[in-house]
Structure formats: C-alpha cells, structure tokens
Amino acid sequence: MIIQCPDCQTRFKLDPERVPRRSIRVRCSKCRYVFPVDGSVLDPAPEASSFDAVEPRPVSAPRPAAEVDAPSPPEFDRGPLVDREPEALRPPQNAAPDGVAKGGRSGGFGLELERSEVPSLATDEPQGPTVDVDLPAATATMAPEVETRPADATPAVEAPTPVEKPAPVQAQVEAPEAARPGASPGAAEADPKLKKARRLARALVSDILVYNREVRDRALVDGTLVQALGQEIKKSWELYKEKVDPEFASESNLFREALNDILADGQKIF
C-alpha cells in the first residue's frame, strides 16, 4: 500500500502485512512528521501487487497537530529495530517511481512505525468531552522525543515492534474474527512496565464496562458516556495512578486508550 505524509507529501510504500488492522502511527523520516495510518481501512491486496497503478489514497485524514504530538510511551525512544525484521518494510526492487521515497540506511523507504495503536487524546478531540478525572493532558510531550532522534534526511526503515514472544493478543489482531479492541502489537508488548500498566488500565476499564454494561450502552447511544460513568472512571484512574506511579500514568496514554477502546467501543471519546 502507498501512504503519503500529510506534511511533506512524500509518499511511501508500506508492506500491508506489517500493518495491524487497527490504527498505527508512522513517522516520516524525511520531515519527522508523525501521522496515523488506519490499518482497518486499507485493502492491501491490490496495492501490494501493483505498485505503479497505485495512487496515493487518503488512508487517514491528517490529524490536528496536538493529537499527533500525543505522548509516546518511553520505549519509542529505542533504536531502530530494522535489524530484527529488516525485510518487513523493505520496498520491492522496482518500487521507486515518482516521488516515492526509497533507499535509506537499511534499504528501506523512510517510514518509522510508531508503536502505538491509538494516538488520540480526548482533550484534542474537538467533539470529545473531557472527563474530569485528571487524565494525562494532551501536551506536546512527543516533541522532545522527536528531537532526540538524529536528524536524518535519508529515508530509513524501522520495522514495527516485534514482540518478544508471540502473544495471542497479537495473533488476534491479525485474525479479523478474533480481534479485540486495542489488542494490537505495540509498545506495551516490548516493555514489562508498559505491558503491566496497559494490562492494569484495560482490566480496570473492563471492570467498569462489565459492571455498568447497560448504562454504558445507553450512554454511548446518548452521547453521555462521560457524565454517566465519570465517577467510576475517576475512581479507576486514581487507583491506576497509585499503582503505576502518577508520573508514568500521566505521561503515558494507556488509560485513555483503554477507555476509548473498551468503554467507548473504539470511539475516541476520551
């Protein structure tokens, strides 16, 4: 599939096999802009087989800058993973016509897959009400992270996160019928602390769901989810902060992701 950086318009070829069904974020190695790619809307089959015929299509509308600058989990700072799965994102030999970046330090095409599956932050969602639970603010904490990477005009490849061991969670992402919300391969798989925090967040939020399923369903239809379950969310958020340490809880976006994935049923409400 071909995706295009909404900032510098550079186009990149992306192996659809490496894109989970849910959203991922990619970083343009040319201009360093980070933007989302929604795996679920991509139909990899025709694009993978016929590069020349492909026109860059709007895989996902560019998001507001603040949203793109969502806080990234710490391990995003780790070095390139190209050595671990270099072939995954390598372009075909003939893949370099008009404006499609190619080459790079590993023969790649200049995209870095961000290991985060849900990039949104409630406070950035124009339509999204903000629940009064002191959730991590959508500040531009990603900016320093971007700057820590060496400025590299040469397009480069960084493979998506390979998990340390094949987790069923990841298998589900690839299996449409078994996909569950938010269960994408990602940062949480790579770092034990992050994995633990992500699991706790999802457990807490799924507790809210199963104990308030009818209220949730009704509120989701009425658009009153935040008001209906604000107290429950706040209580769980406080416990989450206490358990994972407040600073980490605020810096990471895991709790919010869990709210959107599980409680909002995939909508970006929080």
């Binding site: 589900q172 457990a203 807490l204």
Partner: protein, 193 residues
C-alpha cells in the same frame, strides 16, 4: 493451613474461588450450594457492601469423607473480583487450602483475567503461601458466550505452568462439580501426606 477441631473431630479446609469480577465465582458456589444435601451444608452467607457492588464472600461447609478418623469440612469462599477490592481479597486468602481460579472466557476480559491471576500470585506471596503447597485449579468459565476466547489461548495466557483446568458454563452447572471435586481431592491428598 487446615484448622483441626479435635472436639468435633473435624478438619476444616478452606477453598477460595478467585478471579475477575463477574467471572462466575459466585455462580459456581451458588450452584454447588443449591445441589447439596441440606443436612450437610451450613448457611450460605453473602456480604454485599459499598455502592451495591457484588462485594461478598460465601461460606459453605461441605463434608467429604474422613482423613485419619477426622471428618473433613470444606469452606468455600469467593472473593470480590474487581481490581480495587484487593484488601478484601488478601484477607480472604488467609489460611487458604485450595484455590479455584475462575477465568472469564469473554475476550474483553482477558486483561482482567491476567491481572487477577497476577494479583493472586502477589497476594499469596504476601501471605508466604506457595503454590507448591496449595492446589490451584483453573476453570475456563462462560464457554457459551459468543466470541469466547479459544481454550488454547486461555491456557497460553493464563496457565503456562500447566495446572489442571476445566471448561465450564457455571450458570448451567457444566464443569462446576468437576472443578470442586478436583480441588477437594487435591486438598485431601495434601492433608493425607
């Protein structure tokens, strides 16, 4: 550890049903309770506190055979499953002789299952209890829900140690007594040794 009552010549064994909230722990115990001979069972006690949550434990004595001349009385407890009721869970775990972990097969509860199981391990550690000494049986409950996770996946995620496990649909009673008999047998086996 089991409590021995010499005057009544009874050994009291405590079995705790652990697991995430609304996973079926209470359903298990309620099903067992409803089918026991009224002469052999005590009173079922339910505690509900705080914001109408299903925070409770059940108490159910169940007599099974004798060990060295002592009758055995099983006390069955559930714990509150929600993440933030850990203090109660920790308290109820004290003196446990056998454990049943009731996992919810619903895919949206996989993280809650894992979190609860890790929480069980943590709480056992705090009581200086070791799973080498205490039998743990896992139950894959709600096998009838649409989109239930495959048993293989539950085994991979929750049971890498290979503890004995049973599939169950507790509301229908499927697997409930299999689980209880297995854990009881394990507890008795340890008592005899």
């Amino acid at each position: 550890m089991s409590l021995i009552n010499y005057s009544s010549r009874e050994i009291n064994c405590k079995i705790v049903y652990y697991g995430p909230g609304l996973g079926g722990k209470t359903t298990n115990i309620q099903y067992v309770y409803d089918r026991l001979n009224p002469d052999t069972k005590g009173k079922l006690v339910t505690l509900a506190t705080e914001m109408d949550r299903t925070l409770f434990f059940d108490f159910l004595p169940l007599e099974l055979g004798t060990v060295k001349g002592f009758k055995t009385r099983f006390h069955l407890y559930t714990v509150p499953g929600q993440v933030y009721y850990n203090a109660s869970r920790k308290l109820i775990l004290r003196g446990v002789d056998g454990l049943v972990f009731v996992a919810d097969s619903d895919e949206c509860r996989i993280d809650a299952n894992i979190e609860s199981l890790y929480n069980l391990y943590d709480n056992l550690d705090e009581h200086n209890l070791d799973l080498k000494d205490i039998p743990l049986i896992l139950q894959w409950n709600k096998r009838d829900v649409p989109g239930a996770l495959p048993v293989e996946e539950l085994e991979t995620e929750l049971n890498p140690q290979g503890f004995t496990s049973f599939e169950a649909v507790a509301v229908k009673g499927t697997g409930v007594f299999d689980t209880l008999k297995c854990v009881s047998k394990e507890v008795l086996h340890r008592l005899q040794n």
